[in-house]
Amino acid sequence: MQQSIDYTEIGLIAGLEVHQQLLTKTKLFCRCPSGLYTTEHDGTVLRHMRPTLSELGEYDGTALMEFKTKKNIIYLLHESNTCTYETDDTPPFLINQEAVDVAIEQCLMLGCDIVDELHIARKQYLDGSIPTGFQRTAIVGVNGRLPFRGRELSITQVSVEEDSCREVSDNGHLIVWRTDRLGVPLIETVTGPDLRTPDEVEEAILLVGRVCRSTGHVRVGLGASRQDVNVSVRGGTRVEIKGVPKAGWAPALVHGEAIRQVNLLQLRDELHQRGIKSPEAITIDHRDVTRILASSEIDFFRLEGWDRFNESHDRREGFESGKGPFSVRAVRLKSLRGTLEHPTQPDLTFAHELQGRVRVISGLDQPPIMVHDGSWPGAAAELKALRSALHCEAEDALAVIWGAEEDTLTAAEEIRLRFADATLGVPAETRQPFADGHTNFERILPGPDRMYPDTDSPPLALGRDRVAALQEKLAEPPWEREERYSAAGLPRNTIHFLIRRGGARLVDLVVNEAGADLRSTGFFFGERLKGLRRAGLQVDDITDEQWLSWFRLMSSQPVLAEILDEVVAWMARHLGNDPNAFVEGGLYGSEPKDWRQHLRKIAIGAQPKNPDGSQSQRLAFLMGLVMPNLRGRIPAQEVLLEIDPGANGKRDGQ
């Protein structure tokens, strides 16, 4: 799949915006619990968004585009995690100080200079992802740096902001959101444009993730961290691939975007060669061709097909399905024949760009959204009839869209606008990533015009004392920890896992407080615990006190190490309870009276069922017989020596 390309030659530049949720009890601007997600709702609100004028008396391009989509926006609310702030029926409360502290701590980890006074800004989003129509956000730190591949990765700025709603569905003109995640504090870390290859992007995501997670004060798990990857090539434009859920997706996405930009620049040159040198030079005309295609073999060209599609997607007329009667619209693209087949991303063509824009902006989303004469699905005669109805010349291209009439008009205009952009090269946009490495249009990239001060929130002076106090308690940076763990003999993968999933904090806790051995503790939290987690035990909820007590018990009575799995299982089932209760209750750690005599007695008579006469078979049998009663009380090795004084050196178990 990967088309080979020299990234240096095309001038690939990439940077990151890493979003990481903070672990706080409540949300950023209200007192709702943070991180409590629901799948049910007990209330709904319907809203629309209207763009506000910018300081130049103009509408922000993105805002206007999102307004054109005429979306009905529904919020699903649940009383447990949503109050009147989330529905924008109450102004914000003062910013959550716990979140500010965690954000400062994160900034310090990232080597940032903490700003003196926090100013909360509004960042407009009209897609409905935030019911106010804007996200509240504030810069906390600037000018940071991280060691990266023998050089430095610069951190431009770190802001603390409220997370947005979770999308439930997007069906024609209706988008549905859930408000549970809305308002969860997160930090956005913006790196400089310092990355040069797709692999570097992946590595940088992992590095920033490790730094954030080193504190133990951030959320982990699905959706707790997401990154936007900014990519451009020489002559291209910064394009934001938004919400990449896994670092592993990054290389293919970055590669794909690089190829896309190179191809779009070639398309621009091709358009210029055809004499289409500026946006104004794009001319299109279009007309309704519903009648011409009324008896087409293609289902989506006919009213019945449209009705069936709406029915199967539960679309109400005028609400989800758009306004006006069903219409098939043919668009003549003057002198543009062949351009829709121009390659863009690996395995995709320029037609895909048009389909993405049409889907998002006009709301037309019945696959394949748009067809054209280069990929005509129907009879050749039909195409011929359409081309002649539109008076197409040989060098003209033809595209067809269908759906509610108003939407087809919006779509035709959008096709023109996308071609107009193509005459300039690569449009600045936000793109949605997919697992297979391709991306699709999400929105036009917003400019600084969409930011304005939040008049509901006063500025907050952070104070050097506050910063110094947090600096004092700061966790070790991951590269130092990595060195320390590595010196103790832990493999790199285990170390990264421990840092990523928060286990490193526990390792250091029990090593420092309970005198445990770093290497074995690292293996325990980094490897062995995985199996127990997979078995469904709530091992991540076991408290620090439980772990400390257990490791203290183990260091005073090493024999207890042999019942480790049982103890962990017990602690997970008795969250918060001291494992000492389990140890004492089971008489673990204490030798049974006269156990040697008992053992010798048992050993005399016992035989395996089908003895093969070998000593090893006999010993295995005997150990299996006696160990269940002695595990955690007598070291297995000692038991073995008792049964077979000749055995030595061969250690059982861990």
Binding site: H41, D42, G43, T44, V45, L46, R47, H48, M49, R50, P51, T52, L53, S54, E55, G57, E58, A63, I74, L77, E79, T87, D88, D89, T90, P91, D113, V115, D116, E117, L118, H119, A121, R122, K123, Q124, L126, P131, T132, G133, F134, T137, A138, I139, V142, N143, Q157, S159, G447, P448, D449, R450, M451, Y452, P453, D454, T455, P458, P459, A461
Partner: protein
Amino acid sequence: MNETVKDPLKGYRGAARAKLAEWKVRVWSDVRCTNSAGSIFEGVVLPRSETFDDLHIVLKLRTGYNVGVHVDRVVSIEELGYKEAFYKIPEQEFPKRPSLPKITLLGTGGTIASRLDYRTGAVIPAFTPGELYGAVPELADLSNLTTRKIFGVFSENMGWEQYVILAEEIEREIAAGADGIVVGHGTDTMGHTAAILNFMVQDSPVPIVIVGSQRSSDRPSSDAALNLIHAVKTAGEGDIAEVQICMFGPTSDRYGLLHRGTRCRKMHSSYRSTFRTISDIPLAVVNREGFRYLGPEYLPRDPNRRVKIDTAYDNRITILYYYPGMDPDLVDALVEKGYHGIVIAGTGLGHVNTPLYPALERAIKAGVHIVMTVQTLWGYAQMYVYDTGRDLLDIGIVPLDNMLPETALMKLGWVLGHTHDHDQVMEMMRTPINHEITPREPHNGYLILQGGLPEVEAWVKGHWK
């Protein structure tokens, strides 16, 4: 930017002001500021609110974010340029269509439509038809709009002088042939204005619609545009020729409610659906498509009817919100200060405690007119039910049945502008002009659904709130 003398260091005091002066930069200077940690901030120096401390300089960075830099950490500020912002709302000519109704929008200072000063966050009201057309183009499909800004005060600064001017302006617009009048108003005291206009402007031939917004129009989710659309539609096409409030019905963007001005109250400090008709049902539902009249009788539109304007008033009136343990000297103080009328918001059916009786009696003897309303808002003052109430009646306190306390206050001020004769005052107070007292409370006039109950939750879940 209306000040004639501009302070180039607007809002900066003390150390911050000195620092800016030291580096010879002004508000709106485009600067590069370096701090002691070596961080570089590039952006525009913003004015600072005078209520904030004098230790920070506010910059709008290139990214659009703002930060405050502490003066003690400033190493240098270098001026790169100067970018004063001139804010102007784009004006587009409001299209004239002879077939559409003539509507006048009177502005009192509440911002119905506005635009944000993106750098400072200040809100600039959009008001001329051209500005409004730029912000809410739908208005051109509903009306030929004229606008007049009468005064620019916050809702809480409205008072008797303003009520009189407003009534007179309404008279003028009606005389000039308006098909309907919209009054833009802040929401906090919208109920008071709606009540007093019902007394000062009677028998209007056309709708008089008071409208505002709960979320300012500088936010994409604002209720302002839709409220304005509903109000203009009501003024132009609605049939109710009363002074009415037009605001969101639910918090969702669905429809507006038309509330009778004498029976309406703001019931939540911030919800969009804050206005509720009390002890009755609203007059009508309005949306972009049309009206649904809900049943209460109303004064229909009649271009031939002559409006009566009566702006007499006496502002020496007050509301006494009774609470347990209220000291009687409070009443004495009001008498001493020369108050002419007191509206008591009593407990329950209209009660105050016994120690207050002698003071109230003294007040009435001194010529103060005292009326009783209920602080429960819903329901009637029924003082004959208990002995305590009967005692108050004996003293000469007159119950106003189910008149809302604020409506009673407005009416008492208006009535005292006409007469101080006790019997006449009370006769006028008890004779409703526009349903400020109603003979009966329909059972659906009091519906505060209690959340948490399964049947209520089931209903709420199935509806857009």
